[in-house]
């Protein structure tokens, strides 16, 4: 009895001390929260609201289509409705909700206290919220984008879509994508570098594998669309003719850039949902998942294959037959990894002892719907069949089977599964079953018959149709089904709202799960775990049933908190062996203000008030720089750690910042490759490509500028090497020297540009070169600013041989900038020379 009280006291005392460091503020200061649990829930709730709005838009469309030749909704509005329905569901609901779920769960599953860049998570959320609000405001103002969610140009250029409608889409979605990419970077580095002691890659819960691959796919997949949006916006606002045939551009380039993103996007949405299935099934089958390694292989190969089949959205564009056969085959290959997962799940059920709970219902629903979507997907990959049903309601049915089956149903399974984790209470079984059956029946009634509507020849995106085509009955059925499904969703919502009040307490680990997220309190505390356990195993909660208690009583690692730092383990990316203590930043206004400044920029670009835009750029730059100044590298006195512990990350060369930088550069590199792709594509394919007879840029000044850049890069590399050897004499002076050489490089570069004969609004040739030059200048300029800032920090004593962390982070940026320069030089200067002489 006495010892029990004793433990309880220490347990509560530990909790209070941790809360002092990790606690979330209330009131206005809640805007400063960076904790992953809060940010994850914000993402999910916001995404859920947009799901309801997107659903409402769909209901309006189904009302209009219920009967032939209705004029409830005029075509102008109808076009806005379907454009916004697709955009909202894809960009404002599916991706953010799944990111939110991943942000909420990943640290808990890998035994960490927070994501590795907490302020970045908050920043991502604010970008998403503000971007979404800007986009949605267009609908309220009646000037929403109306070009379809894939925004094919020339319909979306300023000739055929004057007015700000399309600009809302391009700017708003780009803003939201910044949030997606930052989440991708953050999740990648968190999964690789912050797993608890001993959790090797092959000990990770499968969900983490799915999220890792999803995050990397975001990193590579979103940049092409970001580039495409920037190019189209430049064409609309400034008149640079990337997609204008008359001036040497090509509208098909937009389709390539869009689907280069758009197809991986489907798997970016499907993979986390499949991750939910792979997490839930073994728990409800009471045995480990079958074929763990097979599934890991399947996830990774899905990631790779999904980048090789974007052209199957473009089979009717008139692409050569050989290429079509290739992409047709590649598209079908996806059936293999999907089949492996499907049958691994089946085998898990087969040899397990399944128990029934509501999440299982949603999983069966998922299987049925997703299989139909997958089978029609294989059909669509067949070129002759695709020519017939492309752009009809058959495709509408197919994509809803894939998206709703492959995303919404697993998500709802996951929602019911983790609801006790979010709230500590159980939902009602009865309401939940009603919700499922209404949604399931409603969905199939709407969309199964829609395959037929497509066969009967009804194209997508028509606001009405004439009687006598045989389209009346299937359309009426679809509309009725839509409303049944809406009732089902309403039932689920009701259940969730009611469970907060009436649900019975869940207790800890109500499903008997195996993964670490159930070792936290339910609902969880902001610090997740008082102490971080060793976890060299796949099923910690099954192997150590008392884990929750021992964690809360502080029996494991890193339970000291008197230093007042937010800390979590930094570990080896493969073995999970502890390498350092990662010191995480606390709550901050910077993410909120930076996102606010960027949204001012977004709005001023929308309204074309460029003076305001300039102010916003400067404000964002200042905010982001002060962000980089206020990081977690402190003076020696604040950095003591308990003897026997590894050092703080700021004392190492290979900390999370370096990983964040490298992953960011991967995204950046994907963007640059997309630019090079555009350059080569237009050269080869554009019907009216016009290149000047004489080279528009003089090569000699560019060469000089490049040599200066290379010198600066090598010098930077050299000082990092000296730091590694423990020497930091003249560090400040050397950094200033590098910055000055970098500045000289920029000046020569600008001079070469201004002396050129480029007219960016005249031909696509000049416009693309201008974009490449801008891209280079942005990178060179930022390299100079970062290095100058480092020199300042040396003066303050934040950087030096005991704290070499930051200089090592800047180094890859220099190397990347240098690589971009020489690749561009090759593509823009050397290639045309070779071309002409050949």
């Amino acid at each position: 009895m006495n010892t029990n009280n004793e433990t309880r006291k220490t347990r509560d005392a530990l909790h209070d001390e941790f809360l002092k460091v990790w606690g979330n503020p209330r009131g206005w200061h809640a805007l400063t929260i960076v904790n992953h649990t809060t940010v994850g829930i914000r993402f999910m709730v916001t995404g859920g609201i947009f799901f309801l709005i997107g659903g409402l838009l769909a209901m309006l469309m189904r009302t209009q289509l219920a009967l032939p030749e209705q004029d409830i909704i005029e075509p102008k509005l109808y076009d806005q409705l379907f454009t916004m329905h697709g955009t909202v569901m894809m960009f404002l609901f599916a991706v953010p909700v799944l990111e939110g779920l991943a942000m909420y769960l990943i640290p808990k599953m890998i035994g960490a206290r927070d994501l590795v860049f907490p302020r970045l998570s908050a920043f991502g959320y604010w970008c998403y919220l503000f971007g979404s609000l800007i986009l949605m405001s267009s609908l309220v103002l009646g000037i929403a984008p109306a070009g379809g969610w894939f925004m094919y140009t020339p319909l979306t250029n300023n000739v055929y879509s004057p007015g700000p409608n399309v600009d809302f889409w391009l700017l708003g979605v780009t803003f939201i994508e910044i949030s997606a990419v930052s989440a991708g970077i953050e999740l990648t580095v968190s999964i690789l570098r912050t797993r608890t002691s001993g959790m090797a890659l092959l000990h990770m819960p499968l969900f983490c594998w799915y999220i890792l691959v999803m995050a990397l796919m975001i990193v590579f997949g979103f940049p092409p669309l970001i580039l495409g949006s920037i190019l189209l916006e430049l064409e609309r606002a400034v008149g640079m003719p990337f997609f204008d045939v008359a001036r040497g551009g090509d509208p098909i380039l937009w389709q390539h850039l869009f689907w280069l993103f758009g197809h991986p996007e489907v798997y970016i949405i499907f993979l986390p949902a499949a991750g939910i299935v792979s997490t839930l099934l073994p728990v409800f089958s009471r045995q480990p998942i079958v074929g763990y390694r097979w599934i890991v292989l399947a996830i990774i190969s899905t990631g790779f294959i999904s980048f090789g089949l974007w052209v199957h959205h473009m089979f009717t564009v008139g692409i050569p037959q050989l290429a079509q056969a290739f992409f047709s085959m590649a598209s079908m290959l996806v059936a293999i990894p999907t089949g492996i997962q499907l049958f691994a799940w089946l085998a898990t059920l087969w040899t397990g002892r399944p128990v029934y709970h509501v999440p299982m219902l949603w999983l069966v629903g998922f299987l049925f719907i997703f299989m139909i979507g997958g089978l029609t997907g294989v059909m669509l990959a067949l070129v002759p069949f695709n020519w017939q049903v492309h752009d009809t309601h058959f495709v509408v049915a197919h994509l809803h089977y894939v998206m709703v089956g492959g995303m919404l149903f697993p998500l709802l399974a996951g929602l019911y599964y983790w609801l006790p984790h979010f709230s500590g209470r159980m939902p009602s079984d009865k309401l939940a079953r009603w919700g499922f059956w209404l949604t399931f029946v409603g969905f199939n009634t709407t969309f199964l018959v829609m395959h037929l509507t497509g066969f009967l020849g009804m194209p997508r995106r028509v606001y009405t149709y004439q009687a006598g085509m045989g389209w009346e009955l299937p359309n009426s059925v679809s509309s009725v089904g839509g409303f049944i499904m809406a009732m089902g969703i309403a039932m689920v919502l009701l259940d969730i709202v009611l469970h907060f009040r009436f649900g019975r307490p869940a207790g800890s680990n109500p499903w008997g799960a195996d993964t670490l997220e159930w070792a936290t309190d339910t609902p969880p505390q902001p610090y997740n775990f008082i102490s971080l356990p060793d976890c060299p195993m796949r099923h910690p909660m099954w192997d150590q049933p008392d884990l929750q208690t021992t964690i809360a009583e502080g029996h494991h690692g890193l339970s000291e908190i008197d230093h007042g730092r937010r800390e979590t383990w930094g570990s080896d990316p493969v073995s999970g062996a502890i390498r350092e203590i990662i010191h995480l930043p606390g709550n901050s206004w910077l993410p909120f203000y930076s996102a606010l400044a960027l949204s001012v920029l977004c709005i001023s670009l929308l309204t074309r008030t460029y003076s305001m835009a300039l102010i916003a750029v400067v404000a964002s730059l200042l905010l982001l720089l002060s962000w980089s100044w206020k990081n977690c590298v402190y003076l020696e006195a604040d950095s003591a750690v308990k003897p026997g512990y590894p050092p703080l990350h700021s004392r190492t060369f290979n900390g999370p910042g370096l990983w964040g930088m490298v992953v960011t550069l991967l995204a950046d590199g994907a963007l640059f490759l997309a630019i090079l792709f555009g350059w080569l594509y237009l050269r080869v394919v554009a019907p009216n490509w016009q290149a000047p007879d004489t080279a528009p840029l003089a090569w000699l000044p560019l060469l000089i500028s490049g040599v200066l850049l290379t010198v600066a890069t090598f010098w930077h590399h050299f000082i990092v090497r000296r730091l590694r050897a423990g020497r930091d004499d003249h560090l400040q002076g050397q950094l200033w020297g590098i910055a000055v050489i970098g500045l000289a490089h920029c000046c020569v570069f600008i001079w070469a540009w201004s002396a050129s004969s480029l007219v960016a609004t005249q031909t696509a040739h000049d416009a693309v070169i201008a974009v490449i030059l801008m891209y280079q200048l942005f990178h060179s300029g930022l390299a100079v600013i970062m290095t100058a800032l480092q020199a300042k920090r040396v003066a303050y004593g934040y950087v030096g041989k005991t704290a070499p962390y930051e200089i090592a982070v800047v180094k890859p940026w220099w190397i990347y900038t240098n690589a971009v320069f020489w690749l561009s030089f090759l593509a823009v200067i050397m290639l045309p020379i070779a071309w002409r002489s050949a």
Binding site: P75, D79, P154, L155, Y160, A246, D250, P251, V290, G291, W294, T316, V317, Q321, A325, M332, L333, I336, P337, T338, G339, I340, F343, A344, L346, A347, W350, T351, R353, L367, M371, L375, V378, M379, L382, P384, F385, W387, Q388, H390, D391, V441, N444, T445, L448, V449, L452, F455, G457, M458, P459, R461, G468, M469, G470, W471, P474, V477, P687, N688
Partner: protein
């Protein structure tokens, strides 16, 4: 599970039986390309329904059955055969079968030269929101109207004067996009004289829903007569 599926499956079966013959139905083909695709569809439909039913049955059975106790080695063997059989063999066999049908089929639909015969062509230009149809070597220009001879292949050369449209006569063949600055070619052939309907398939702005094309198929003799009569007009 079962009762909930009855309603939608009943609806879809009934509609299939009644609806396939619609005036714009791809399952009511009026030309060789559309015929090939509709056959392909029925084949794939049978295959898919079988796969779906088998997997669903297995899944539901797996959830309900009481497995006998297995040793680890036995369980491993069962699991391995599920993954290899269902995850590798089944999809690979399916893919090979489907591609060996579809690639030659797609190839036959291409506008390739026909031995011993020159294929006539017709130019179709998309506008927001109407079709301009031109018969080369004549002065004939039609709006929203296309006349074809029955029983002979014809190449439709499509392009656009403004945004992207897509040429589609569902009962004859698949669609082809009409893109400014490019000319795409679609080979079509109608079996018999009669009236058909075409529609713009790529969203092209507010008038998209009303961008319709009337297709009139004549016997070869009537077609020649029509061409001449039109020329003299």
């Amino acid at each position: 599970m079962i009762p909930s599926l009855t309603l939608p499956s009943l609806i879809i079966t009934l509609s299939f039986l009644s609806g396939c013959s619609g005036p714009q139905s791809i399952l009511n083909p009026a030309g060789p390309s559309a015929l090939a695709v509709s056959r392909l569809w029925w084949g794939m439909f049978g295959f898919s329904v079988t796969v779906l039913l088998v997997v669903m049955t297995l899944w539901i059975y797996a959830m309900r059955r009481k497995p006998r106790p297995l040793t680890e080695a036995q369980a491993d063997r069962i699991n391995q055969s599920w993954i290899i059989g269902g995850g590798l063999v089944l999809p690979i066999a399916g893919i090979v079968a489907l591609l060996s049908f579809s690639i030659p089929m797609g190839y036959r639909m291409l506008p390739l030269p026909v031995a011993g015969q020159s294929v006539p062509h017709i130019d179709v230009i998309g506008h927001q929101w109407w079709w301009e149809v031109r018969y080369p070597d004549t002065d004939i220009v039609l709006i929203n109207e296309l006349h074809l001879p029955a029983g002979t292949p014809v190449d439709i050369h499509v392009t656009s004067s403004d945004v992207i449209h897509s040429f589609w006569v569902p009962r004859l063949a698949g669609k082809i996009d009409m893109i400014p600055g490019r000319t795409n070619v679609l080979r079509i052939e109608a079996d018999a004289p009669g009236q058909l309907l075409g529609k713009c398939a790529e969203f092209c702005g507010v008038g998209h829903a009303h961008m319709l094309l009337e297709v009139q198929v004549h016997t070869p003799e009537d077609y020649e007569a029509w061409l001449e009569a039109y020329e003299y007009e």
